[in-house]
């Protein structure tokens, strides 16, 4: 069974909501990313979204753009990202992994080899924000063969598209909380509750929400109506704030602890 499905099944039994943190891989470096993933697990994360840095992150706001730029400066590529996943497993991380990547790096890697590698590295799902259902047929067919979930995004503007997206979804359906790119925000789309309940009616799969969620109050609010909550920019920003600590051997532990504490309090 796919690790993502297994996780949602367990959480459902316990009547809990999945906390799904996101980090940009290789920010600030490979080794630290592996350590951060361990901290995320220790902090109570349920699934982790591993972001592949990209030169032109269209769906991302300034925080994740900056993280991508930092990682790319260190020549982080898809191979380094797979290595991070592999080494995290070697360090006994058992969290399900989702790879978040724009489409072009996947296309250049080769669709078949991409999914082959994901499977080999125990990555259970993939989110490709610039691959709408109109363009995803080939990718979805291959992902199904490798039993890797191609997790779709639905937006408040999706309206009549919600049903067709849900029908093709695997793993869970990812609701975008607002009109806009990723990034911390204090308010969400006005009709967010109705939007999420529309999505829930359209599918038997778990439904998660993300984009702009940064506080434990927001986590609590969305826990009531969703099966999973993605926290991205807030964590990436926290990592950015800890960079001075993370980049020196003496203070690294302290920096990692701060990240762990930030993530742990989200669920409180």
């Amino acid at each position: 069974m796919n690790l993502i499905d297994q996780k949602f099944k367990e959480l459902k039994k316990q009547d809990k909501t999945a906390l799904i943190p996101f980090l940009t891989m290789g920010d600030p470096d490979i080794e630290t990313s592996i350590q951060i993933i361990k901290e995320l697990e220790a902090a109570g994360a349920d699934i982790v979204e591993l972001g592949l840095p990209y030169s032109d992150p269209l769906a991302d706001g300034p925080v994740i753009q900056r993280a991508s730029e930092r990682a790319l400066k260190h020549n982080i590529n898809i191979h380094s990202c797979l290595e991070i996943a592999k080494k995290a497993r070697q360090k006994n991380v058992s969290l399900p992994f989702i790879l978040f990547t724009y489409y072009n790096p996947v296309l250049q890697f080769g669709l078949e080899s991409f999914f082959e590698e994901l499977q080999a590295h125990q990555i259970s799902g993939v989110i490709i924000p610039d691959l709408p259902i109109e363009e995803d047929e080939e990718v979805r067919a291959i992902s199904e063969r490798y039993q890797i979930h191609l997790i779709p995004l639905v937006a408040p503007t999706s309206k009549d598209r919600i049903t067709s997206i849900s029908k093709k979804a695997a793993g869970f359906v990812y609701c975008v909380s607002s009109l806009g790119v990723t990034g911390v925000r204090s308010s969400f789309y006005d009709g967010i509750d109705d939007f999420i309940s529309l999505v829930k009616q359209s599918t038997d799969l778990p439904v998660a929400v993300g984009f702009g969620i940064s506080t434990n109050e927001q986590f609590a609010k969305f826990s009531k109506i969703c099966d999973g909550v993605v926290v991205g920019s807030a964590i990436v920003r926290n990592i950015e704030e800890q960079l001075p600590l993370l980049q020196s051997a003496e203070t690294k532990e302290k920096g990692l602890l701060q990240i762990r504490e930030f993530v742990a309090q989200l669920k409180e």
Binding site: D56, P62, Q65, N104, L107, D130, A155
Partner: protein, 401 residues
């Protein structure tokens, strides 16, 4: 064969709609509105009226006799898009999209710009039609092109400097798309070239094809036959598609697109997307792209800001792969020489972009017979470039770049 794109916005394997889900319904709405209005007589008449009375179309097809004599081969005709209002072909498209925005009830428009030509053309049309206009421009470019920033401000537009990535056109495009994602309910995106997600490459082509329609008729009037070759420069590729498209089914007419090879295709400082790039997805469509082995988009370089773009319109990718058009490249230096030659032989200072097309003409005209005919799209005038040319010729271009 050349009846493209299909209903999915595909030109062969190129094109499509690779954008975040948030934009999908907006693109579908745009496509529906465009389909509806392109059959609407009043809409067409309004555009035709503005092109004629406001922009001064039809632009002339001018026989460059002294240039032809100097090169000693084919007869060279220049399609004078530089004579349009705002000095380039860009206005053909912004008039079309501006009128469409108004018909769709959108009061706010946004645009991306590199050197500022499309930004100025968008700000102009926004002023004309009473629309609120924001123009996204790389911070680097706002410094290099201060006069155009001022122009846009004079026209009532707000210029937003983009500080992400390379701080040039590519990132201005990203930022405009990001802004559109956040404001899609009341904002119309006036995209400046035949790039981006469907329906933009098709729609911008349709608004620009008037260049080729006029040129085809004009050359038949003057020469009693079709030209042998049509030449245009290609950045995103809107002026080239505009002049190529009406000739695509005239198989005797050779179509030549000229990319910028900057400091040379053997260096890493060029913008020769189709000569050196490979298939990839960028800013909403599948096309040729300058990228590294991992699919990260690479920076482009050209002395001409309008050609300085790592992608290219999907229809060009299609014309290249079907071999209907040929794509070549011209260096910064060759373009500058062409600019000087045209200035001195004809008294026309071309835009640096258009100078690339002239440079290619200089290469092939002498190899052709005197009764053969070349039509060159002179897509814009060079006034905007005079300052940077001055710096370049004084040798401090790189410092000021």
């Amino acid at each position: 064969m050349f009846n493209v794109p299909d209903a999915q916005g595909r030109f062969g394997k190129f094109g499509g709609k690779y954008v975040p889900e948030t934009l999908m319904n907006a693109l579908i709405e745009l496509e529906d509105a465009y389909k509806h209005y392109s059959k609407d007589k009043e809409f067409q008449n309004e555009i035709r009226y503005l092109l004629k009375q406001y922009s001064g179309r039809p632009t002339s097809l001018y026989y460059a006799e002294r240039l032809s004599e100097h090169l000693g081969g084919a007869k060279i005709y220049l399609k004078r898009e530089d004579l349009n209002h705002t000095g380039a072909h860009k206005i053909n498209n912004t008039i079309g999209q501006g009128v469409l925005a108004k018909r769709m009830g959108k009061k706010k428009v946004i645009a991306e710009t590199g050197a500022g030509q499309h930004g100025v053309a968008s700000a102009t049309v926004a002023a004309l039609l009473g629309l609120e206009c924001k123009v996204f421009m790389g911070e680097e470019d706002t410094k290099r092109q201060q006069l155009n920033v001022f122009r846009m401000n004079l026209l009532g537009a707000q210029v937003i400097p983009v500080t992400s990535g390379t701080r040039t056109l590519k990132d201005a495009g990203n930022e405009t798309l990001r802004y559109w994602v956040s404001n899609v309910h009341d904002t119309f995106y006036i995209l400046g070239s035949v790039v981006g997600p469907h329906p933009y490459p098709m729609m911008v082509r349709d608004f620009q094809k008037i260049i080729g329609e006029e040129a085809r008729k004009q050359i038949i009037d003057k020469e009693g036959k079709l030209p042998d070759t049509v030449i245009a420069c290609v950045g995103g590729g809107s002026n080239a598609i505009g002049i190529f498209y009406p000739f695509v089914n005239d198989f005797s007419v050779k179509l030549v697109g000229v990319e910028a090879s900057g400091k040379g295709v053997h260096t890493d400082q060029h913008a020769a997307t189709m000569t050196k790039g490979s298939h990839g997805v960028f800013q909403g469509s599948m096309s040729y792209l300058l990228q590294d082995e991992f699919g990260q988009v690479q920076e482009a370089h050209s002395i001409s800001a309008g050609l300085d773009y790592p992608g290219v319109g999907p229809e060009h990718a299609y014309l290249k792969d079907t071999k209907r058009a040929e794509y070549v490249s011209i260096t910064d230096e060759e373009a500058l020489n062409a600019l000087k030659l045209l200035s001195r032989t004809e008294g026309i200072i071309p835009a640096l972009e258009s100078a690339h097309a002239i440079a290619q003409t200089m290469k092939i005209a002498p190899t052709m017979e005197k009764d053969q005919v070349i039509v060159v799209n002179l897509s814009g005038r060079g006034d905007k470039d005079v300052e940077s040319i001055m710096h370049y010729l004084e040798g401090d271009y790189h410092e000021s770049d």
